[in-house]
C-alpha cells in the first residue's frame, strides 16, 4: 500500500518538467502607450495561475496577447514560449492551429462571446470540425458529450437552441464546453465569472476545478476578485500599471503579502468575516419615509407570458435608515428600487412616500413629483458613466437636477455656489465644475451621481448597485463617503446590491429577495450571521471567501455534503 497519492495543486512528476508556458519580458504597446511592461511569468502543467489587478492593470491584455488576439495596433515584444516554442513574433498560421486546440480561452460576457444567429450545437461542432477531422454525425455526438460534461441541463434540447434562449451561467458552460472541446493544455479564463451571480459563479468555479483535475490542463485565470483567487488559484501574480507587483503561492500571498499595494487590495476586499456590521439606526419607525403595501409589478413577455417581477411586497423604511436589498439578477431588487423612485407603475398595492400616497389607493399626483412637505426620492445609478449626459458639463448636470426640483420646491438653491458646495461635500474639486464626464475617472463620475442625488435634499435615496462598476479600492472610498453623507444628512436609503459583504458594512437592515418576493428581512447582523431562509444560506455559502485556507475548508465541507446528501 505505497501508492503515491497525488495532492491537488502540486506537480507530481519527479523530474522538474519545463513549464508549459513561459512568458519573458513581455512588453505590449498601443501606439506610444505602454500597457504591459517587462512582465515575466510561467505556468507549470496542471497548475492554476491567477493574475489579479484592478481595471487598467493590463491583465486582460496580457491574456489576449498569449493567443495574438490584440489586433494590429498592439506591438508585442519579449518572449511567449508555449511548450518550448516562442510564439513571438506572431506566426498567424501556427497560431490558428494552436487557438482553441492546445490553448483555448473563455471570456467575461458569455452572451456576447457567442454568435447570436447560430444554434449552440452548430457553434460547438464548428469548433470541433475546425481542428479535427469529424463528420457531422460524429461532431454531434462529441458535442452532446461535451454539453453533458459541463453539466448543462437537457443537452439534447440545448443543442438546438440559440444563445439568447439560455441564461448567462448556462452560456458560460457552453463556452467552457467549447474551450475543452479539443482537450487543451492551457485554458485562459478572462474574468469568466464577473458577469454572473454568486451562486452561478460558485458552480462555474467548481466545474473548472473538476475539469482541470480530470484533464490535467493548466489554467491562467484573470480576475479582479480576491475571493475567486482564493478559491481557484495555486499561484497568484498581482499586476498594477502593466507591471508585476508581486507573485507567490496563494497561501503565502494571502497570509503574508510583501507589497503595500497587495495589502491595500486585500484590505479593500469586502468580507463578511471581517465586516464591522452596522447596528440599528436611530429612527422613528412610526412615520416611515417610504411605505410599500402588497406591491405587485408584472412584465408582459413574448407569447403572452407574464413575468411577476414583484409579488406582494410589504416594506417600510424610516428616516435615518439604510436598507440593503440583496438578491441575484432577476430577483426584482432593481424593480423594487425603481418603484420606490417612482420610475415604474405598479399593478397592485400602494406606494406611500413621506405620508403621501403616490401609487395605488388615494394617489392623485404624479408618480414622483416632490412637494414642499414631501422632498421625494432621488436615485444613484449603477452605471455612473451612462447616467451622465456626455455633452453636459458637470456643473450643468447638477444644475439641471436642481432646476427640475425647483419646479416643485422653490426653496431649493440652484446657484453655482450651492452646486460648488455640494461638489466639495462629495470630494470633487471646484475645477471639475466645467469638465465633461469623459474627463473624469469612474470614481469621480459616481461622486457626481451622489452629488446629484443629494443636491435636491431628498428624504430617500435609492442607490442601485452604485459601486459594482468600480474597482475595489475606489469602491471602498466611495462607500465610505456615502456612509458619511448618510449619517450627516440622515436621509433614508435603499442600497441595492448583489454583494452581501457590502450589505453587511453599509446597511442597518437587510432585505433578501428571490423571484420577486421578499424571502427574509431583519437587522443586517442577524440575517447575515444566522440566516433562517435556505435561499439566504445558499447565497451566503456561494460567496468565495478571500482566504484560501477557509475557502478550502468550506469547499471540502460542500463536497462532503454533495457526496452524502
Amino acid at each position: 500500500m505505497s501508492a503515491v497519492i497525488p495532492v491537488a495543486g502540486t506537480v507530481t512528476n519527479l523530474e522538474k518538467a519545463e513549464p508549459l508556458l513561459a512568458v519573458r519580458d513581455l512588453t505590449i504597446d498601443f501606439g506610444d502607450k505602454s500597457i504591459v511592461k517587462n512582465l515575466s511569468f510561467a505556468i507549470e502543467p496542471g497548475e492554476t495561475l491567477a493574475i489579479v489587478g484592478e481595471s487598467g492593470s493590463g491583465k486582460s491584455v496580457t491574456a489576449l496577447s498569449l493567443l495574438g488576439l490584440l489586433g494590429p495596433r498592439a506591438k508585442v515584444a519579449g518572449a511567449i514560449e508555449f511548450r518550448g516554442q516562442n510564439l513571438l513574433p506572431y506566426d498567424f498560421k501556427r497560431l490558428a492551429h494552436l487557438r482553441g486546440n492546445a490553448v483555448s480561452i473563455i471570456f467575461q460576457e458569455p452572451m456576447a462571446a457567442l454568435n447570436p444567429v447560430y444554434k449552440i450545437g452548430r457553434q460547438l461542432s464548428d469548433v470541433l470540425r475546425n481542428h479535427m477531422n469529424l463528420t457531422a454525425v460524429e461532431a454531434r455526438i462529441r458535442v452532446l458529450e461535451l454539453l453533458n460534461k459541463v453539466k448543462l441541463p437537457t443537452p439534447e434540447a440545448k443543442y438546438d437552441q440559440y444563445p439568447f434562449e439560455l441564461s448567462g451561467g448556462q452560456l458560460q458552460r457552453v463556452m467552457i464546453a467549447m474551450a475543452i472541446a479539443c482537450r487543451p493544455k492551457l485554458l485562459i479564463a478572462d474574468e469568466p465569472t464577473t458577469a454572473l451571480d454568486v451562486t452561478v459563479q460558485a458552480g462555474i468555479l467548481d466545474l473548472l476545478r473538476e475539469l482541470q483535475a480530470e484533464m490535467g490542463m493548466s489554467v491562467l485565470f484573470i480576475t479582479h476578485d480576491f475571493g475567486v483567487v482564493a478559491d481557484i488559484a495555486d499561484r497568484v501574480l498581482v499586476m498594477r500599471h502593466g507591471q508585476q507587483v508581486e507573485t507567490g503561492a496563494v497561501d503565502t500571498l494571502f497570509a503574508a503579502p510583501r507589497e503595500d499595494y497587495t495589502r491595500m487590495l486585500l484590505s479593500a476586499v469586502p468580507s463578511l468575516a471581517k465586516a464591522g456590521y452596522r447596528g440599528n439606526a436611530a429612527t422613528d419607525v412610526r412615520s416611515p419615509v417610504l411605505q410599500l403595501r402588497n406591491v405587485g409589478v408584472s412584465f408582459r413577455g413574448r407569447r403572452g407570458h407574464v413575468l411577476k417581477a414583484l409579488d406582494g411586497i410589504d416594506l417600510a423604511i424610516a428616516r435615518n435608515e439604510v436598507v440593503a436589498l440583496v438578491g441575484e439578477s432577476g430577483s426584482g431588487k432593481s424593480t423594487l428600487g425603481n418603484v420606490a423612485a417612482g420610475l415604474i407603475r405598479i399593478d397592485q398595492g400602494e406606494v406611500i412616500v413621506d405620508g403621501t400616497p403616490r401609487q395605488g389607493a388615494g394617489a392623485s399626483s404624479g408618480l414622483h413629483s416632490p412637494s414642499l412637505h414631501s422632498p421625494g426620492v432621488s436615485m444613484v445609478f449603477q452605471d455612473a458613466n451612462a447616467s451622465l449626459n456626455p455633452r453636459m458639463r458637470i456643473g450643468a448636470t447638477l444644475r439641471a437636477a436642481l432646476k427640475w426640483g425647483r419646479r416643485y420646491r422653490p426653496d431649493l438653491d440652484a446657484s453655482d455656489s450651492y452646486i460648488r458646495s455640494i461638489m466639495a461635500e462629495v470630494g470633487l474639486g471646484p475645477e471639475l465644475f466645467e469638465r465633461f464626464p469623459h474627463e473624469l475617472s469612474g470614481g469621480q463620475k459616481q461622486r457626481v451621481g451622489i452629488a446629484r442625488a443629494l443636491s435636491v435634499k431628498p428624504s430617500l435615496i435609492v442607490a442601485d448597485e452604485p459601486t459594482s462598476a468600480l474597482d475595489v479600492s475606489v469602491q471602498k472610498t466611495v462607500l465610505e463617503l456615502f456612509r458619511k453623507l448618510q449619517q450627516q444628512h440622515g436621509f433614508a436609503c435603499i442600497f441595492i446590491t448583489h454583494d452581501l459583504s457590502l450589505a453587511a458594512t453599509n446597511s442597518n437592515r437587510v432585505v433578501v429577495m428571490n423571484k420577486g418576493r421578499i424571502v427574509e428581512q431583519g437587522p443586517t447582523a442577524d440575517v447575515l450571521r444566522h440566516p433562517s431562509d435556505p435561499y439566504t444560506r445558499a447565497l451566503l455559502n456561494s460567496i468565495p471567501l478571500p482566504d484560501p485556507v477557509a475557502q478550502r475548508a468550506r469547499r471540502a465541507q460542500r463536497e462532503d455534503a454533495g457526496a452524502n446528501p
Binding site: R99, S104, A112, N115, P116, K119, N130, H131, E165
Partner: protein, 315 residues
C-alpha cells in the same frame, strides 16, 4: 405564433393596404380636372356631344363616383380591372402582356444590385482599392439621376461604341437579342442599388467586426475567411435586408423612367402613357399590380428577417 399564422396575418393586412391604395388612386384621378372621353375625342373632328355621352355610358363613366368605386373594388377581387379606354380591351390582358418585361427588369436589377452591393461592400472592407472604389464611385452613381445615367450609357456603349442596342425589346424566342437589350437598362437600375447596398454593407461589417463573438471566432482558430463569412458578413446581412426591401420599392418606381429612356414595352411605360390620356382602368390596374408586388416584397423581407435573425422569429 407560427410562421403560417404570421404570414396569413401579414397577407390580410397587405390586402387591406392594396384596397386603400386603390381607393386613394381612384379618388385622386377623379379630382384631376379633365375627362377621358373628351380627351380621346378631341383629336377627332366633328364629334357631337351625343357620341361622347354614348361612349361614357359604354365605359360606365356616367354612374356616380361611389358606385364606380364600389364596382372597381369588387372587380379587383375577380381580377377584373375594367376596360381600357385607349385600347378598348380588358385592362388585365394589356397589363399582363406588359408585365413580363418589367418583372425581368426588376428581378435582374435587384439581383445584381444586391449581390453586387454586398460583394463590393465586403471588398471595400477587405482591400484598400475596394475602399477607394466605394468612396469614389458610390457618391457619383447616387448623385446622377437614373435617366441621365441611362442616356449616358446609351451614348457611350450603343451610339459611340456600337456594342449594344440602344433600346427596344426583342421577343423571348430570340434569347441573345433579348438579353442584349436588357443589359443597359439592368445596369442603369442596378448601379444605384449596388452603391447604396455596398455602403450599408460596409458600415455594418465595420460594426459587427468589433463584436465579442468575432474575437471568439479568431480565438478558436477559424481561418480568416471563415470568420468573415460565418461571424461577420452573416450578421451584417440583417440590416442589409431592410435596406434591400426599401430599395426594391424604389426600383419599381425607377423602372418607369428607365423603360421610357430605353423604349421598353413594360408596365412603367404603360402607366406613363395611361396617365397622359387618363385611361382610368389602366392606371388603376398598373397601380394595383405595383402595390401588390411591393407589399409581397415587404412580407417576404419580414419572413427572411426571421431566418436571418432567430431572435425575431422566436420572440
Amino acid at each position: 405564433m407560427g410562421l403560417a399564422a404570421y404570414c396569413a396575418k401579414r397577407l390580410l393586412v397587405g390586402l387591406a393596404m392594396v384596397v386603400c391604395v386603390q381607393v386613394i388612386i381612384f379618388l385622386a384621378i377623379q379630382v384631376v380636372p379633365g375627362d377621358p372621353v373628351e380627351a380621346m375625342m378631341s383629336e377627332t373632328a366633328g364629334v357631337g356631344p351625343e357620341v361622347i355621352e354614348a361612349l361614357r355610358q359604354q365605359f360606365g363613366l356616367d354612374k356616380p363616383i361611389p358606385v364606380r368605386l364600389l364596382d372597381h373594388i369588387v372587380g379587383l377581387f375577380r381580377l377584373d380591372l375594367g376596360t381600357s379606354l385607349q385600347y378598348n380591351q380588358s385592362a388585365f390582358a394589356i397589363i399582363t402582356s406588359r408585365l413580363a418585361v418589367s418583372i425581368e427588369l426588376v428581378v435582374l436589377a435587384a439581383f445584381f444590385g444586391i449581390v453586387g452591393g454586398i460583394f463590393f461592400g465586403s471588398l471595400s472592407v477587405r482591400t484598400r482599392w475596394g475602399d477607394r472604389l466605394i468612396s469614389v464611385c458610390g457618391p457619383f452613381i447616387l448623385s446622377v439621376p437614373g435617366y441621365v445615367l441611362g442616356s449616358v450609357l446609351i451614348l457611350a456603349l450603343s451610339l459611340t461604341l456600337g456594342w449594344l442596342p440602344a433600346g427596344g425589346m426583342a421577343p423571348f424566342s430570340d434569347p441573345l437579342a433579348h438579353m442584349q437589350r436588357l443589359v443597359l437598362p439592368v445596369i442603369t437600375l442596378a448601379l444605384p442599388i449596388a452603391a447604396t447596398i455596398a455602403k450599408v454593407t460596409r458600415f455594418e461589417i465595420l460594426e459587427v467586426r468589433t463584436q465579442d463573438w468575432v474575437r471568439t471566432s479568431r480565438a478558436y482558430g477559424f481561418p480568416t475567411k471563415v470568420t468573415f463569412r460565418r461571424d461577420i458578413l452573416r450578421n451584417a446581412l440583417t440590416p442589409v435586408l431592410t435596406i434591400s426591401a426599401l430599395e426594391l420599392g424604389g426600383l419599381i418606381g425607377a423602372t418607369v423612367l428607365v423603360e421610357k429612356v430605353f423604349n421598353l414595352p413594360g408596365l412603367g411605360s404603360l402607366l406613363v402613357s395611361a396617365v397622359g390620356i387618363r385611361d382610368y382602368a389602366l392606371i388603376q390596374g398598373a397601380v394595383f399590380v405595383i402595390s401588390t408586388f411591393y407589399i409581397i416584397i415587404n412580407i417576404a423581407a419580414d419572413i427572411m428577417y426571421g431566418f436571418l435573425d432567430p431572435r425575431v422569429s422566436k420572440r
